[in-house]
């Protein structure tokens, strides 16, 4: 797609990240294009995709089956039916075949669920108690972050406050607690208590449907890299851009199955699209905002370390300080631990040679994850530029100027000292 641009018609940008902007204008990514970077991000995509395959299945399971169970003690014990739930974008039955692998859960994930790190076939409860499992809490935290932050675009969030949504939710709640007078009585006393829970579960479904798409995309990129078809960082980015466009129209809905009957809390007919109602809010909430880590920021009101406005929150993976990962109060540790189990061999050898090798692999892969997320953000920026603005090789200088202003506006968000954009420019940041 990226034709080699003829002589740049615009004067060099005066922005602080001028050379990154020029790289973007040439169809590149925020991440410098080096083989080492490519190896890291593709390896991390594969390691991130395997737990993600569990995350989206469990999120959908909680949103659709566990629903309002007051004591969901076994919500992380995924039933076989959801392990075999066919992914809409992989295998033969796919709507759009993104990954050539099969639609059910990834083999490495199934092996891990069965034997775990202790390499013994134990019942699921023992694996759970030994904390030898996928850290599903991280996925729930992401869903809660998307739910808590407001004003991120898309019609999903306003719809949750609409009367129609409340009516759908009411029907589902009554059906769920049919024959349970206590809960129904409590529902009559405090309706909003339950409706708020259902809103949270709708975001669970939202994130589950979003990740259902990303997992096959990452698996496909890892397979292509293994086959040598992806050789540069821009190629990887463009695969993501095409993926974003290809699945932009995928519907975002929330169906609840109560005693075999399906209640459509958010029907597909509302026309919520994957790009606007899931992808962009996810990127804004998880990549840019989330919430300050209790391990490094004080929540004391008089200390004023927590920003007063949600839009000023800058604690997502693009800003996170990954070095204290592994110590107390650093939420990304859960995800890094999940990815540690599924690192591809070439990445494990790569980490063996740097820093403390085996001992602090968790931090090294955390930083590679940060690089890979900068690549995904570049893909999102390029996709938005393609959708809303002009192609890179547009002859009209006014269009190129509009493109540049858009890039500069996106990179202005990384002027903040905590942003890691400067660090990922060179290889020594590990």
């Amino acid at each position: 797609m990226t034709t080699t641009l003829q002589r740049p018609t615009l004067p060099p940008s005066t922005h602080e990240f001028a050379e990154i902007i020029h790289r973007l204008e040439a169809g590149g990514a925020m991440l410098p294009d080096t083989p080492e970077n490519l190896m890291q991000i593709i390896g991390i995509y594969k390691a991130y995709a395997v737990p993600m395959d569990f995350y989206w299945r469990d999120l959908l399971y909680i949103a659709e089956r566990v629903f309002l169970n007051p004591l969901p003690a076994f919500k992380y014990f995924l039933p076989q039916s959801y392990l075999d739930l066919p992914n809409h974008y992989a295998g033969e039955t796919a709507d759009l075949r993104v990954w050539r692998g099969e639609a059910t859960a990834h083999p490495e994930l199934l092996a891990f669920i069965e034997k775990g790190e202790v390499q013994k076939k134990l019942p699921k409860l023992l694996h759970h108690l030994w904390h030898d499992r996928i850290n599903m809490e991280f996925a729930e935290a992401c869903a809660r972050a998307m739910f808590w932050h407001r004003g991120m675009g898309g019609q999903f969030d306003p719809y949750l406050d609409s009367e129609e949504y409340k009516a759908n939710a009411d029907r589902a709640i009554r059906a769920y607690f049919q024959g349970n007078p206590v809960m129904l009585g409590l529902y009559r006393l405090f309706p909003d208590l339950f409706v708020e829970q259902v809103r949270e579960l709708s975001y669970y479904a939202n994130l589950g449907l979003f990740w259902e798409v990303m997992a096959p995309v990452f698996f496909e990129m890892s397979d292509l890299y293994d086959e040598g078809k992806i050789t540069t960082v821009p190629e990887a980015m463009n695969f993501l851009v095409n993926g974003i466009f290809a699945i932009a129209g995928r519907p975002i809905y929330h169906h609840v199955y109560i005693r075999g009957e399906c209640y459509e809390i958010i029907p597909k007919s509302k026309g919520f699209m994957w790009l606007y109602e899931a992808a962009l809010p996810y990127v804004e909430a998880v990549f840019y905002r989330t919430s300050p880590f209790r391990g490094t920021k004080s929540y004391n009101a008089q200390a004023r370390e927590v920003p007063a406005d949600q839009k000023d929150f800058h604690y997502g993976i693009l800003y996170a300080d990954v070095f204290p990962v592994g110590s107390a109060g650093i939420p990304p540790t859960l995800l890094m631990q999940d990815m540690l189990h599924f690192l591809p061999p070439y990445l494990v050898d790569y980490y063996q040679e740097h820093c403390r090798g085996e001992e602090d692999m968790l931090i090294q892969l955390g930083i590679s994850f940060q690089r890979s997320m900068y690549n995904v953000t570049s893909a999102v920026i390029q996709a938005l530029r393609t959708a809303l603005l002009y192609p890179l090789d547009d002859p009209n200088p006014k269009h190129l100027q509009a493109n540049r202003q858009f890039f500069e506006a996106q990179l202005d968000r990384f002027r903040r000292p905590e942003a890691r954009l400067r660090d990922i420019q060179d290889q020594s940041y590990r």
């Binding site: 070095f323 204290p324 592994g326 110590s327 602090d360 968790l362 931090i363």
Partner: protein
Amino acid sequence: MILSTLIWFPILGAIALALVPSRYLKWAALILSGSILLGSLWIAYQFDITQPLIQFREDLPWLATLGLNYQLGVDGLSLPLIILNTLLTWIAIYSSPEATERPRLFYGLVLLISGAVSGAFLAQNLLLFFLFYEIELVPFYLLIAIWGSEKKSYAAMKFLLYTAVSGALIFVAFVGLVWLQGADSFAYTALAGNTLPLWQQLILLAFVLIGFGIKIPLVPLHTWLPDTYVAASAPIAMLLGGVLAKLGTYGIFRFGLGLFPEAWGTLAPGLATWATVSVLYGATVAIAQKDIKRMVAYSSVGHMGYILLGGAALTELSLVGAVAQMFAHGLILAILFHLVGMVEAKVGTRELDVLNGLMNPLRGLPLVSALLVLGGMASAGIPGLVGFVSEFLVFQGSYAVFPLQTLLCVVGTGLTAVYFVILLNRTCFGKLDNAIADFPKVEWRERVPALILSLTILFLGLQPTWLVRWSEASTHAMVAVLPPVTQVTTLAQVLDRE
């Protein structure tokens, strides 16, 4: 015969090490010092704790004309220190880094020191004690001057001068004693028996006090300590603080209290005040330090004051506490110097302003900082660790005699807690600065000594009978023979008089 092996086995071993091929050198030194350690433990096993007097006595005529006979013996006061000496020697050898250059000379000197110090503790002849006391001076000078870190020559020279002066003063006291008593030999038992007029005792005691005061050290005489401990490498600092300092306190008790009881009684209030000044001075200066090794060095100055306070109060409890504090302080200082040495070796600096957040489990030194917390809190006297037991015995024992000084020393433990919290807050807590965070890995071999020491500290803290049972009989005998110190009765009388 067993006591002589404790002395000559290491000294001969030091020479024998020259023949061992360099690959097995460390193992040979370890086996040697390990066998000495087992020997001392076996003595402890044989030791009859109900018997207050000297046991395992050895007596060989040597230079009768000079009055110097080879007389050895061990009692409740010296036994714990012997065990401490052999234990710390083994740990010093074990924790000395692989890459020490000229290892033969290093291990030889360390073993020589171990033999000389054991000799000093066991000597029952004043001149023999002085002989061994002087032998360990030159090896220490070499150990500091050759293997030390920055400013090592200045520190080694300063240490040499100070200890030489201390040796001279002690020699004057011993010779004066024998000359005044007209005794024919330097045998301890003979000299301890009859007494001199008070004013002569006071003069000789003054010499003994200043002589050993330099070694302990006590406040005005202490300025060699921070430079020497900081310049010495970690294993040597462990020996210096753990073992050498105990020579000073042992000397005061054996030759000051033992030989001049009346003089000691009259000087007791002054000694107690001197102890309190030493405690408060050491703790206050330590707060202002910016280098963690200097901070630990000054903590040693502070903790020695408790031993002197225990000695000055002269109740049975305070003496037992003082002996226990000697052993406890030896252990605590050893683990602190070992850990500080590890921090310096891995992080490369000892500056408080640079060190930060070593508790990071993946890139920091998590176990080292955990043990640093344990060592710091043991030194600050947190119960459940050996530091509290000995300090409490000293306080409870000396409260009855010197209430005011004891309470000020309690404030001293508070100040100790202050500077250890400052140390821990900077080095362990806080966020690890990744720019300096690529320390080499800490192998298990380097952690073993710290673990052994911390286990002993915890065990003795929870089961203190094992710490105090050795010296109970001897201190009881020591106090019984002495006239009670002109007791400043309880707090009430003190208050009434004001």
